[in-house]
Amino acid sequence: MAVVAAFLVPGNPLPLLKPGNPPWKPLLGGFARAAEVLAAARPDVLLVYSTQWIAVLDQLWQTRAHTHGVQVDDNWYAHGDLPVDLRVDVALAEACIAGCAAIGVRAKGVDYDGFPIDSGTIVADTLLNRGRVPLVIAANNVYHDFAAVERLAAMAVGAATEQGKRVAVVAVGGLSGAYFDTDIDLADDRIRHTADDVANRGFLAALGGGTDSARAALGDYAAAASPDMGMKHLAWILGATGGFAGATTLGYGPTYGAGAAVVQFDVA
């Protein structure tokens, strides 16, 4: 089987930028546990889909072999910079671009010096991957629906399989979308609405029940908690894995009021 591990992780950079902040320690602990699981799975490549890399024309894939430098987040710039040292499996990314044509999606590569890798991908590469394994990074075309993202992910895994590669699947995005829209004391960060907290915990429990349970819970959860991009990042997991038997929440907490979790999926 090509898929050897799968994770959902948050893309908000605050826990990375301010790791000492108590409300974010459960998430960082989750990242640490997930990183150990990932390393043990010995993937050849990480298939990454981040809600924060927005595309509107075509499906974009990162094809620059090595991106090195510093990014400054549009929102959280006051808390520090984000070092980037990220490697891409260009051969597989090119295969994904070619594979898009076969599923009726126009696609192209992105290979430009200075391209602003999104904060979510940087967070995942830093805290989960720790820069060890090359990535294939797909943009979030906002006009692609849940099913389209599933097809993209399945195609990407198929391309990796053809190349004989062991794949770890990483979906980068948040849970409940309600953040605090005024200044807060970061040490007091919490899920903004109690109802969101309840909905998040319920949805994480549903993920634990496997694919059918997750799909059954998705609609009500999306309506209740307005999750990040309607949880399209979960479609990346579902499409890539073809379904999962269960899931374990390794970390859960707030990111400036919004919900976030590190989840490991059972793909064996």
Partner: protein, 296 residues
């Protein structure tokens, strides 16, 4: 010190295709041209701006979207390469700009005094967004006038449209007060497209103008209706139509620059001048000017 004033406001949309088409030395990507009518519209706007001799340009850009309040560029000198994450094939621009930090701080303080959440951006490594750069390049390619860069707070999307627009109106009033206290001659730039319905696939040659036309007839009709109202000075009616316009034309003005600028200018009944109109990947773009010196 003389009272500062807003001498003009421009609707100055920011499709990066316009910079790409112009082939300035700052942009890595090369083109065969394209979108000429819009670029000629900007030529007329540049001439008018030159005659106004402003001390500062204030720009509100939807592509610096902030979640927590309204942010202002607060570093005196910002430079670097801004690669558009959406159109990286077209826009990879080496920018080098001066910020009027004093006025930016004054705007920020006035916004806070008005009850808004607002903050200064002090990180010197900050990558200025392509919306800000495209509008500034198209209106003043010499880059010789200091700027105030203002983010688009997410409130029109996160809250209701009325609540978000209300914040932008308050921000506009705060901006006006800061300008008046500064003693400076200011030009406002609303970096917005009108109808935002667009194509979802890019031609192999992006500047192939045989592929360029309004994506939506509904959007086009809204563009013409709004332009005509603005040309007649009927801003009040435009603001009454604003929610319907935003909804039916998927208008980018929702992001706040338009109500911010009109509010700062006191919702003027002065007819706006249309410098030109054109579509970019199907979206509707008008370059328009309220020139209060000429109107006086």
């Amino acid at each position: 010190m003389a009272t500062g004033k807003i001498v003009a406001g421009f609707i100055a949309p920011h499709p990066p295709h316009l910079v790409y088409a112009e082939n300035p030395p700052q942009n890595e990507a090369r083109s065969e041209g394209g979108w000429e009518p819009l670029r000629w519209a900007y030529e007329r706007a540049r001439k008018s701006l030159d005659e106004l001799k402003p001390d500062v340009l204030l720009i509100h850009s939807p592509h610096w979207q902030t979640l927590v309040g309204h942010h202002f560029l607060g570093v005196e000198h910002l430079s670097g390469k801004s690669v558009d994450p959406i159109f990286p094939n077209l826009f990879r621009y080496s920018f080098d700009l001066k910020v009027d930090v004093e006025l930016a701080e004054a705007c920020c303080a006035e916004a806070r005094d008005a009850g808004l959440t607002a903050q200064m951006m002090r990180n010197p490594g900050f990558r200025v967004d392509y919306g800000t750069i495209t509008t500034l390049h198209m209106i003043r390619p010499q880059w010789d006038i200091p700027i105030v860069g203002i983010s688009a707070n997410n409130s029109p999307y996160y809250l209701t449209l009325d609540e978000g627009t209300g914040e932008m109106v308050t921000l506009g009033q705060a901006t006006r007060r800061a300008i008046e206290k500064s003693g400076k001659r200011a030009v406002l730039l609303c970096s917005n497209t009108f109808s935002h319905w667009h194509f979802h696939e890019e031609p192999d040659l992006p500047e192939d103008m045989t592929r360029e036309h309004p994506q939506s007839y509904t959007g086009y009709k809204w563009d013409m209706r709004i332009i005509e109202l603005l040309r007649r000075g009927e801003v009040e009616q435009v603001m009454q139509l604003f929610p319907q316009w935003v909804e039916e034309a998927f208008a980018e003005v929702k992001s706040g620059a338009f109500p911010w600028m009109l509010s700062a200018m006191g919702f003027p009944r002065t007819p706006a001048e249309l410098h030109g109109y054109g579509t970019v990947i199907g979206t509707g773009n008008a370059v328009m000017e309220w020139n209060f010196e000429r109107a006086a």
